[in-house]
Amino acid sequence: MSDERRSISLAGAGKLSGGDYARVSISGAGKVDGDLCAEEIRISGAGKLAGRTEAGQISVSGSGVFDGPVTADEMSVSGAARIEGEAKVKEMKCSGTFRVSGNLLAEYVKVSGHIRVGGNLEAEIFKASGGFDVDGLLSADKIEVHLGGKCEAREIGGESIHVERGNFREKGILLDGLVRMLWRGAAAELTASSIEGDEIELEDTTADVVRGKRVIIGPRCHVKNVEYTETLEVHDDAEVEKQTKV
């Protein structure tokens, strides 16, 4: 741990055979062949990392492809990044597009771009104002979604789950139109097969089943089955096929 680590910068077309570094920066087209361990990794060009990656900080503003599992304290994606494998990132921020083929395990996740997870997305706090697509379970103590695109998860579970329409509309038609165009015209709504939590407040959500302690089904929701233990409020402009107090 105490030996001095080098910093390296790949500008132009470069190749690196993995190892232990202080700082790795890829600004051209760079490839890392083996496992990489670094305090800081910066990709502003096109980076391809073939092995496992372990880092304090990773930032991708260009395009980054990680062909192995990634562990990091902080990761921010403002360009495009793809991880083939599992990602363990304490603090994840994505304003670009981000794909993880396995699970994404984090403490804090903030998505203003788009995130796609092939496994489960588990965090302590999950905040989204963009879009997401989680094949498995989306779980966090606190889930806060400002719908800014198409949002999907097979299951959602946590302590408090709050979903509301994004505030693009307030900023004018132009921005709203732009957002719609970006997400291929997809409506800003959330779809899930089940949503479970202690405090649930939903808007623009379609779900098969919503289970919770205190539940508010807001405007433009379509829910087949609501099960609640304490309170339930259903907005006039919402559709609930069946509601049961358990």
Partner: protein, 235 residues
């Protein structure tokens, strides 16, 4: 394998009184294994079920321990396999209740130069400290010899799974005007049955003891900082 009895998620919450938030948090912390979440189609749609006995027992144990230990430590204790090469610092063991110089002496542990203990040594210290008020010195010696000689890798792995107690038994045998008392130490499930003349002098729940020892290790390994955090910036 045999078809286990399953229990629906909402029934788990009702039976245990925990919230959705807790259930999902504990899953996230690795306290409830992913494999226990069984998805089944029901007439109301997909529902999640759990192996009944396992989940209820696990939740009770988490509830018991969560107030005294951070969740992150609990995961190690409850789920991680026991490493037979685990080393425990003597310093920490000494802070456990009832551990004093006489216990260390009974366990044949040299207090000064040795800084770390093997898992067997740690179990000896724990067991002896719990039994010392009811057992005789030669029985304590038998206890520590049993743990040292019999607790090996396979048995260590069984302890967190099957509950095993170390029991100290006595039996008086008399005949022809002579009577003698025999002491025995066994490691067996708590509901083992003996002949009516056997008296249980004391018992130590080895799983509980091992958890305490592991917690001690977990608490220690959690101390060093996770490295420096570079300052955050966005361009």
């Amino acid at each position: 394998m045999d078809e286990e009895q399953l229990v629906a998620k909402k029934e788990v919450l009702q039976l245990t009184g925990i919230s959705y938030g807790q259930l999902y948090r504990w899953k996230r912390k690795g306290l409830i294994p992913e494999a226990w979440f069984v998805r089944r189609a029901t007439f109301t749609g997909q529902e999640t079920f759990f192996p009944r006995e396992k989940i209820l027992e696990r939740i009770e144990r988490i509830k018991e321990m969560k107030d005294t230990h951070p969740l992150d430590d609990l995961a190690d204790v409850i789920t991680q396999q026991v490493n037979a090469k685990l080393q425990v610092s003597l310093e920490r063991i000494r802070r456990l209740k009832g551990v004093d110089a006489s216990v260390l002496e009974a366990c044949d542990i040299d207090a000064a130069p040795k800084k770390t203990l093997s898992i067997q040594d740690a179990l000896c210290v724990g067991a002896v400290s719990r039994l010392k008020s009811s057992a005789r010195p030669e029985e304590l010696d038998l206890v520590q010899r049993t743990l040292r000689a019999r607790v090996d890798g396979p048995l260590l792995e069984r302890i967190p799974v099957d509950r095993l107690d170390l029991q100290l038994l006595r039996k008086r045998i008399s005949g022809g005007g002579i009577s003698a008392e025999v002491s025995l130490v066994i490691i067996a499930p708590p509901d083992s049955v003996f002949d009516p003349d056997v008296v249980t002098v004391g018992r130590v729940d080895l799983r509980d003891l091992l958890e305490r020892i592991k917690l001690d290790v977990a608490a220690r390994s959690a101390e060093p900082g996770a490295g420096r955090r570079a300052s955050e910036e966005e361009s």
